[in-house]
Symmetry: C2
Subunit: 414 residues, 2 copies
């Protein structure tokens, strides 16, 4: 992509009311545009990152047997009434009347709907287990939205729902998803660890949150870096500076962001909505359920919170909007042609290249490249015949010809 044609300009100043690092950097770098508080439009660069996150999550969902579906945002009150959540979720649910006088809600989550859909297609134990997921918009009228993409009023979410004959089968799959989540965050380039959200090890109903360490997180987590034991600081029995209950090492407190969560639902939804199956003895029984979420915009915001410096964003290898940012710092015509040639060559090699061909100062090109944060920067200049490959993260330089550059990049993107 030639940057002279790319929609979405970098800018120095943005609205003062953007307090979060992620929204500030993503807006300045031209990835998103604020529509209203907690509601962001994705420009081409932002959408590319979102799609990369989406694809990694989708691959891992397919790998654990997930079948993709797509549910709707508009939902009738009646369904939510049956679980009591029409009232319960009223504080964060957009609820309104349509022109026919029907009460409509915008889905904050999809447990009710998925349970209702599965009911129409499930009869016997032979239909279980079943794993369904979607990547779809959620709407939540959050009171305070100061965290940019971390807490949106409209946001893309992957939600997986599992259906089982009993608690034992749920427990087994729960572990499978737990491992898949760790794999997803690792692939995204995030260091995440799981925290027991409530109840603790004694309860069979506990759920987990997946946390990422950041400078300015929404939560505080007590973590033992030796054995990985972790708990939300608010409910943890062990405080920072005290001994880990598992390995007696001293635990520390960290500011963290919740990047995903997994829940054992049991029959919370299957009972009121009557999702039953005929067991092997021919008797009707409630389906046992689990639900598992990851917010895509939240992941994007989390990466920016966890990976940036004073100059801008530092995308991870797998989430970088492009693999290479080619910077044309040439003045004379011959080198100009060389940059153009390299752009074509990189394309032919199947690499994703953002090519800064703009007629602006070199200083601004370098500044913009650091702000945008593509993983690799490749500099073509009159100064030297060799190319300069720069890793955005630490500005480490590698000099070499195109072959050397290509092999280095390809080794990194695998």
């Amino acid at each position: 992509m030639k940057q002279s044609k790319l929609f979405g300009k970098t800018r120095k100043d943005i609205s003062q009311d953007e307090k979060s690092i992620n929204a500030e950097l993503l807006t300045k770098a031209g990835f998103v545009e604020k529509q209203m508080a907690g509601v962001y439009d994705y420009l081409p660069l932002g959408l590319r990152v979102l799609r990369k996150i989406e694809n990694i999550i989708r691959e891992e969902m397919e790998a654990i047997g997930g079948q993709e579906i797509l549910m709707t945002a508009l939902q009738a009150k009646e369904l939510w009434h049956q679980t009591g959540r029409w009232q319960e979720l009223e504080p964060i649910m957009y609820q309104f009347q349509d022109h026919h006088g029907s009460q409509i809600g915008l889905a904050t989550t999809h447990e009710e709907v998925i349970t209702d859909i599965v009911k129409k297609h499930l009869s016997s134990y032979k239909d279980l287990p079943l794993y369904l997921y979607q990547i779809q918009n959620k709407f939540r009228d959050e009171k305070r939205v100061k965290s940019g993409l971390l807490r949106g009023r409209e946001f893309l979410m992957k939600d997986l729902y599992s259906f089982h004959i009993d608690q034992k089968d749920l427990d087994e799959y729960y572990q499978v998803v737990y491992q898949a989540y760790l794999k997803i965050f690792k692939r995204l380039g995030l260091e995440a660890f799981a925290v027991e959200a409530s109840g603790g090890a004694m309860s069979k109903q506990f759920s987990h949150e997946f946390m990422v360490k950041t400078e300015a997180g929404e939560d505080e987590t007590v973590l033992c870096e030796k054995c990985g034991w972790a708990q939300n600081a608010e409910i943890a029995k062990v405080k920072s500076g005290e001994q880990c209950p598992q390995c007696q090492t001293i635990v520390k407190k960290f500011k963290t962001v919740e990047a995903g969560n997994i829940f054992r639902l049991g029959d919370k939804y299957s009972r009121p909505l009557k999702l039953q199956f005929t067991n092997q003895k021919g008797k009707l029984q409630e389906v046992v359920m689990g639900s598992y979420g990851i917010g895509l915009g939240r992941v994007m915001g989390t990466i920016v919170e966890a990976s940036h410096d004073q100059d801008g964003i530092i995308w991870t290898e797998t989430t970088s909007p492009y693999q290479v940012h080619l910077l044309n710092l040439a003045k004379n015509d011959k080198t100009q042609g060389k940059a153009e040639q390299i752009y074509k060559e990189l394309h032919q090699q199947g690499l994703e290249v953002l090519y800064d061909d703009r007629d602006i100062s070199f200083a601004r090109k370098l500044k913009d490249a650091d702000l945008i944060g593509v993983y690799w920067q490749l500099i073509v200049s009159d100064k030297q015949t060799e190319l300069e490959l720069v890793k955005r993260k630490d500005h480490q330089k590698i000099l070499g010809d195109l072959n050397k550059v290509l092999s280095t990049i390809k080794k990194s993107v695998r």
Copy 2:
């Protein structure tokens, strides 16, 4: 995909209030599930078709320079107020108050928002032309929704917006999109033709609708099959049975479905929202705009309306949820193993296969296959050593070994 594991069962009877052929067949075949009037959830088969339609449209948008973005559904009243459409669209717009007392609307379309976003990133004539598109949900509180997926209250739409320095540049790009649309419908397997929507050839502001012939369409169109001249029957000066104004052939009236539309907007939105650019003379000038839509669910419904028989859906080659439906009609163990082997082989050859491995009667398998409508059916039975490749459309049979079958299928999917 093994059909025994596939979520979404076929069924004989569905709710009586589903009057349209597309919704009836798609529900019976397990592609969609009705959430409420005009609102449909997509099950795995349905989502696969939707993605295929999406990918074809996306490829053609990229081919004409479109840059993909993603805008939001939640929109503030203020913006819509400036163009007067907050009042104008009130009859079909979901409008409500959030918990902060702000007036919110769910986007029925995105002209206001895109104009506002572009304003923040456009300054000079050098930034033009610009082509932005998205594939995103629209919400419209339609009064009557008796047409299944043809007229939804929540539906995925591709909307492209173009921005130009003048009318001449818009006119040129308008023709480019016109041709791209014809290509899209052709690739989707639909016979579409363009109709002047209003004004006629004398006006420079006219727009076009792309119509597909179906048994039960929402519109009537007068069409000359010789030269392609066509107009909406309601506004056409020439009636069915009269002479075509272009070539004097007798024109006919057809029931049609509108599958897409393109509009010259001019400065309708850029003027009230003040989207201006500095021209080559240094003066401020309004940007000239165009907008171009295709509803994805509507396309899916249109394909079903245009292509089905008494037994079920007949997907086109490019929109079939799978390329091959492998039907295991074997009783003895040896043939069972053969079907399994062929399933693996087809997979290895990179083909998308739905494999009916269910323990049900052969008659039901054949019935379900016709209802689901995968383009090719491949039958393995004890009766014959050869495989039977059946084209769903006309049930034409080809007998042969796996190599012959593979080469026939591959020739068809290209």
